[in-house]
């Protein structure tokens, strides 16, 4: 009878130990989950900054077409003027013929216009500007 009581007490102690270990394991899991939660907070995306870069590029393209339409032009002047303002990030097409190639190919904005030459022939000009 006394042995049974002792055995029961031993079992109870063992159970206490087991429960203590389980409690510790749970707290470790809780730490990991909370750490993951805080890591997730770090990765919250910041709102993308809005810029008017596209508008400026569009205005600059229209400036070029406007100036070319008011002056005498040839392929060399078109290339030179485009490079003056856009560097090497622009393409120029005249009557579907590519006269200037861009070194980069990213996001692009294109403008198109019609230029009259000295014989009053219509020439379609297209400027494509690439930007980040």
């Amino acid at each position: 009878m006394q042995r049974r009581v002792k055995n029961q007490k031993n079992k109870q102690r063992l159970m206490k130990n087991v429960s203590r270990k389980k409690g510790f394991a749970f707290s470790f899991e809780a730490i990991i989950s909370l750490m993951l939660f805080s890591l997730m907070l770090f990765t919250l995306s910041t709102p993308k900054q809005t810029t008017l870069k596209e508008l400026i590029i569009l205005e600059q393209e229209n400036d070029l077409i406007k100036v070319w339409s008011a002056t005498n032009w040839n392929e060399q002047t078109l290339i030179k003027d485009t490079q003056t303002i856009f560097g090497k990030n622009a393409e120029v097409w005249i009557n579907e013929k590519n006269i200037l190639q861009s070194e980069t190919k990213k996001n692009s904005i294109a403008s198109e216009g019609t230029l009259l030459d000295t014989s009053l022939n219509e020439n379609k000009v297209k400027i494509i500007v690439y930007f980040d």
Partner: protein, 167 residues
């Protein structure tokens, strides 16, 4: 005998409560501290986001004003303040020649102020001439440069308008 058993039981009971209490408090305190730390990070990240949005709006406002002023300079004629229009006028056709500027008009430009935003300087450059006109010289917080292409006194050139926010 009964008294001894009760004491032992009481002692055992007290020990049980103490052990459980320790376990609980350690577990709870660690997780609570980490939870507080997580809340701190969350609030900190919210605060950073709010600051970024505020800066972004201010930059956007400056960009908007800079583009508006530069566009007005290139497309209009304003006799009161040529900063808002320095184009030449075609008297025969009675119209403004957009993108065709006169150096005299650019030189007559006066300062303009929109809240804490002002035009600091105008720079123009052709094959024949290069000049910078400083309109205002103040301490600035941030500046934005707009580059435009046009005819300046009949020569192809670049006009740059630097617009800044006052400190």
């Amino acid at each position: 005998m009964n008294t001894t058993q009760t004491k032992t039981q009481n002692a055992g009971h007290t020990l049980q409560v103490k052990e459980k209490g320790m376990m609980f408090s350690l577990d709870a305190s660690i997780s609570f501290i980490i939870l507080l730390f997580g809340i701190l990070l969350f609030v900190n990240s919210l605060s950073n986001n709010a600051q970024n949005v505020k800066d972004s709006i201010e930059t956007f406002e400056l960009e908007e004003k800079a583009i508006m002023i530069a566009d007005s300079l290139m497309k209009n004629y304003d006799k009161n303040n040529t900063l808002l229009g320095s184009c030449i006028i075609d008297i025969e056709k009675k119209r403004v020649k957009s993108n065709e500027l006169s150096i005299e008009n650019i030189r007559k430009a006066k300062p303009i102020k929109l809240k804490d935003i002002f035009v600091e300087k105008i720079h123009f450059q052709t094959n024949l001439i290069e000049e910078t006109i400083t309109l205002e010289n103040k301490k600035t917080k941030e500046c934005y440069n707009v580059k435009r292409f046009g005819l300046i006194n009949g020569e192809k050139g670049i006009v740059e308008v630097q617009t800044c926010r006052e400190e």
